[in-house]
């Protein structure tokens, strides 16, 4: 007997299906609310090789739903920590951590060695990037996402480009303001637990051939009353023309820009953004001694070197506007924050405070 006995004695599953799981290579993107339960069950089911991609660190507010981690893991990288925890449990599978965020210039090299990808990311730029890369490489994609009390699960690209993909359903991404993620709106930890477990279920079924998968379908689930709604998806010929067709095309894509998140703006647009809502914050990333101070608008001061420690205080904002003396450090800060918060509207103010004083 081995640790998979209860699986292969299941009628219709058997040794052949278990062997497929043991030989499979699955890449899990995001060791967060969806990734944690998925990883636990994929490892328990005996998926032979599991890759885990996450450049983020565990924070206190993650712990209600990211069930691989505990208080002692705060501040540690999620991919590395998840990988260690799984390898402590089982010595018969391979687990490979990638402690980085996916970008157009690294995704192909990472995905190419895996049979399929499970998308447990938490933002639209990454979701479109994963979809497009999976299409180019012909990798099936297990998709899952949540909003407040609801979740959606689907399998894309099962038979390459003949199959439905994310762009067939949503050819145009929503803007950052349109759909807040659960860092901003709150979520019961069990919701990503349920949806992540559904994603692991679909992964196991797809690899083993057991049961009927959600390929070409999307399942909606609502925790409030356990209602489900399953729809049949269809190809959208126009959306196929809009996606990058090759690795070279993918490298040229700017997914933040595609999702309406661009990097820089001028002081002219600041008053409007600040007036619009309370979801905007203006940050000075200069050192305390630097002059001149900004007098025109309310702002928060977070020195560039302290930015990593200030993430928790920034979750609640949709628009994060950053300035420094001349616009160089603010660009670095914007880039770093955009990696941490891919679907927030994060902008560096071109020319820094000097461009404002010159104008005055």
């Amino acid at each position: 007997m081995d640790r998979f006995e209860r699986q292969y004695i299941l009628p219709g599953f058997g040794h052949a299906a278990q062997k497929k799981l043991c030989e499979a290579k699955v890449l899990v993107v995001g060791a967060g609310g969806l990734g944690c339960p998925s990883l636990l069950y994929l490892a328990a089911a005996g998926i032979g090789t599991i890759g885990i991609v996450d450049g983020d660190k565990v924070s206190l507010s993650n712990l209600n739903r990211q069930v691989l981690f505990g208080q002692r893991d705060i501040g540690k990288n999620k991919a590395e920590t998840a990988s260690k925890i799984i390898l402590q449990k089982y010595d018969d599978i391979k687990v490979i951590p990638f402690p980085i965020f996916l970008r157009t210039d690294n995704i192909i090299d990472i995905i190419k060695d895996y049979d399929l990808v499970l998308d447990g990311s938490d933002n639209f730029p990454t979701r479109y990037l994963i979809n497009d890369a999976c299409l180019i490489l012909g990798k099936p994609l297990i998709f899952g996402a949540i909003y407040q009390t609801e979740g959606q699960v689907a399998i894309f690209n099962k038979e390459g480009q003949k199959s439905v993909n994310y762009r067939d359903i949503y050819p145009t991404p929503p803007t950052a303001q349109e759909v807040p993620n659960c860092n901003e709106t709150g979520v019961l930890g069990v919701l990503p637990g349920l949806i992540g477990t559904l994603m692991a279920t679909e992964t196991i079924k797809l690899i083993s051939g057991y049961g009927e998968t959600l390929s070409g379908k999307m399942l909606f689930y609502n925790l409030i009353d356990h209602s489900t709604y399953k729809i049949e998806l269809s190809k959208n010929p126009e959306s196929d023309l809009q996606r990058p067709q090759s690795v070279a095309d993918l490298h040229k894509m700017d997914y933040h820009d595609f999702c309406g998140i661009s990097a820089q703006l001028d002081w002219d647009t600041i008053p409007e953004l600040l007036e619009q809502n309370l979801e905007t914050v203006l940050i000075d990333v200069r050192e305390e001694y630097e002059e001149p101070k900004l007098e025109e608008y309310p702002y928060t001061r977070i020195e560039l070197s302290q930015l990593d420690n200030a993430h928790e205080s920034l979750y609640k904002f949709t628009n994060i506007l950053i300035f420094c003396q001349s616009g160089i450090r603010s660009q670095q800060a914007a880039k770093a924050l955009q990696e941490k918060f891919p679907d927030k509207n994060i902008k560096s103010i071109a020319g820094g405070i000097l461009s404002l004083t010159i104008r005055n």
Partner: protein, 75 residues
């Protein structure tokens, strides 16, 4: 006909399910909904007619069930 709303759209519509008079196609339905709920004008979502997702203007059979399905990004 029955209209089902999901995610943020259910918040805007104020209900997960509404009954409206039959409308001939999805373009007319979208026009009606955007007029009734102006916040929907800036929302991106897909439609399913009788549980089949559609793109482009599509005929709605009498008494059909149309679902308004926004993308979720959380994880």
């Amino acid at each position: 006909m029955k209209v089902l709303a999901f995610g943020k759209i259910a918040e805007i519509v104020g209900n997960q399910e509404i009954e409206i008079d039959n409308l001939p196609n999805t373009e007319v339905l979208l026009g009606y909904l955007r007029q009734q709920y102006p916040q929907l004008q800036n929302m991106k979502f897909t439609l399913a007619v009788n549980k089949k997702q559609v793109s482009g203007n599509t005929e709605i059979p009498r008494g059909a069930e149309v679902a308004l399905l926004p993308p979720f990004s959380g994880g």
